[in-house]
Amino acid sequence: MSKTNGEIIKLNDVWVYYARKPVLKKINLLVYNKDFLGIIGPNGGGKTTLLKVILGLVKPARGRISVFNLSPEEGRKYIGYVPQKPLFDPNFPISVFEVVMMGRYRRRGLFRSYTKEDKKVVLRALEKVGMDKYKNEQIGELSGGEQQKVFIARALVSEPKLLLLDEPLANVDERMRKELYELLGELNNQMTIILVSHDIGAVSTYVKKIACLSQTLFYHGKKEIRKEDLERVYQCPIDLIAHGIPHRVLRKHN
């Protein structure tokens, strides 16, 4: 990883289509080291796709992407990923500890077992997210918010420089939401964070910059979102969606 002026993600004119319909149009995005970027937008606006483009799981039809100055496939080794709805069946026979251990896979690779150090790292991560007491529980026994914490721990044990979270606050109650944000705020001291959510209310004081995404990305590298952008993104009267949003998020209308 070479010197990059602190730019860790660069997307240049990125387009993605699913079955000929554009999902992402002309996306330009720069993310700097230690940013905490919140991307909001309606469901189907391409938020998950954008994260998958950064991870190299979705190939764009056009455009250039660099992740830590590498291709997404190469750069993903520095990324900790917390998927939206982890694809698993609640009865899957696996414990919380084993789930988090998966995050250590890259350190070992084929034909090598997890080590004592891996176990320590896993335990430490579980303590950090406050889930160590559930380490032997089967993952499906946990609540949505608890599972989310376990998946954050799984992302953390790979010791990432960038954390990508897809709707981490869906199905999470108010108290858990606060806890999760405090945790993310603390993690942001060590790593860059990108969080996507369809819920404008999900954006908290910990988030440093905000972007809006609905196929097109509206981003000014700031914490404010312009009212016009929000209206365009959500395509509905701003009063309706502005309800309950902390005022600091929306820029004053002239």
């Binding site: 998927p83 698993f88 026979p93």
Partner: protein
């Protein structure tokens, strides 16, 4: 019951039944947790094409079946990964094509087709020492590969996408795994036949999934349930004068039902 096992064919049947329980129990747990029950069914049925080809060309039908099952495993994998066809559509096509080819080949061979019924419905009583040797070698191979890739298989069974992000060679392992299923089908074929292979892969693992949420304990439980079905099923089929394979499968289903009812209404 003891006297029954003084016959050599009964002893061989018992040995074979116990031996296949290992591969069956372990692969079965993957088959149900990875949700590939019908992929496995497709692979099993399409191997009938190979049986037919074996008769037609005068080679060992088991070899033909192995070739067909590996081929259909890879085809299903490719269709699932590289095309936009639905998985169950792909399974349906391959399942039916394999069976049809088998029927045509058997028809074309015109000659004597011994054991045809055995391949379809199983004939554990005809197991001989060389069958036992091939069960041992194939099972050992499959189980060694499982041990070697245990942590990878756990990751991709649980969350394939995360596996890709964290650097697991997801595609290769998926194909490798389908090939293991194909080999397992061939190992089990002798015991219960092509048509019932899917039962032996699914039922004991499903029963064990009711008993524990730990994958290794599940595999162990599944092996033991398999062994139990074989050890009880063989004499039972003798007493009832019923076909062995089907009796073993029904017994295994009865154990599932008992455990299910016990868990639902007693616990």
């Amino acid at each position: 019951m003891i006297t029954l096992f003084k016959y050599e064919f009964m002893r061989n049947a018992l040995i074979a039944g116990v031996l296949v329980s290992f591969i069956c129990g372990i692969m079965g747990v993957y088959v149900i947790t990875k949700r590939i029950v019908f992929i496995s069914g497709g692979i099993a049925h399409s191997s009938f094409g190979g049986i037919g080809l074996g008769y037609l060309l005068g080679i060992n039908p088991v070899l033909g079946a192995l070739f067909f099952s590996l081929f259909s495993a890879l085809s299903i994998g490719i269709i699932k990964r590289k095309t936009k066809l639905y998985e169950d559509t792909a399974i349906g096509i391959i399942w039916a094509m394999g069976m049809s080819l088998g029927i045509i080949f058997v028809g074309l061979s015109r000659g004597f087709t011994p054991d045809l019924f055995g391949f379809l419905f199983g004939n554990i009583l005809s197991v001989n020492l060389s069958d036992i040797a091939s069960i041992i070698s194939l099972s050992t191979g499959v189980l060694l590969i499982i041990m070697l890739f245990f942590k990878e298989l756990l990751i991709i069974s649980f969350d394939e996408e995360f596996g890709e992000v964290i650097g697991v060679p997801v595609d290769y392992l998926y194909f490798l795994f389908l090939c293991l299923v194909a080999i397992t089908v061939i190992v089990l074929m002798k015991v219960v036949g092509i048509i019932l292979v899917i039962a032996l892969l699914t039922i004991p693992a499903a029963t064990s999934s009711l008993l524990t949420k730990n994958i290794k304990k599940m595999m162990l439980a599944s092996i033991l349930i398999n062994i139990l079905s074989v050890v009880l099923g063989l004499p039972l089929s003798y007493l009832l004068d019923a076909p062995c394979g089907a009796t073993i499968v029904l017994l295994s289903g009865a154990i599932f039902l008992l455990v299910f009812l016990f868990k639902s209404y007693v616990l």
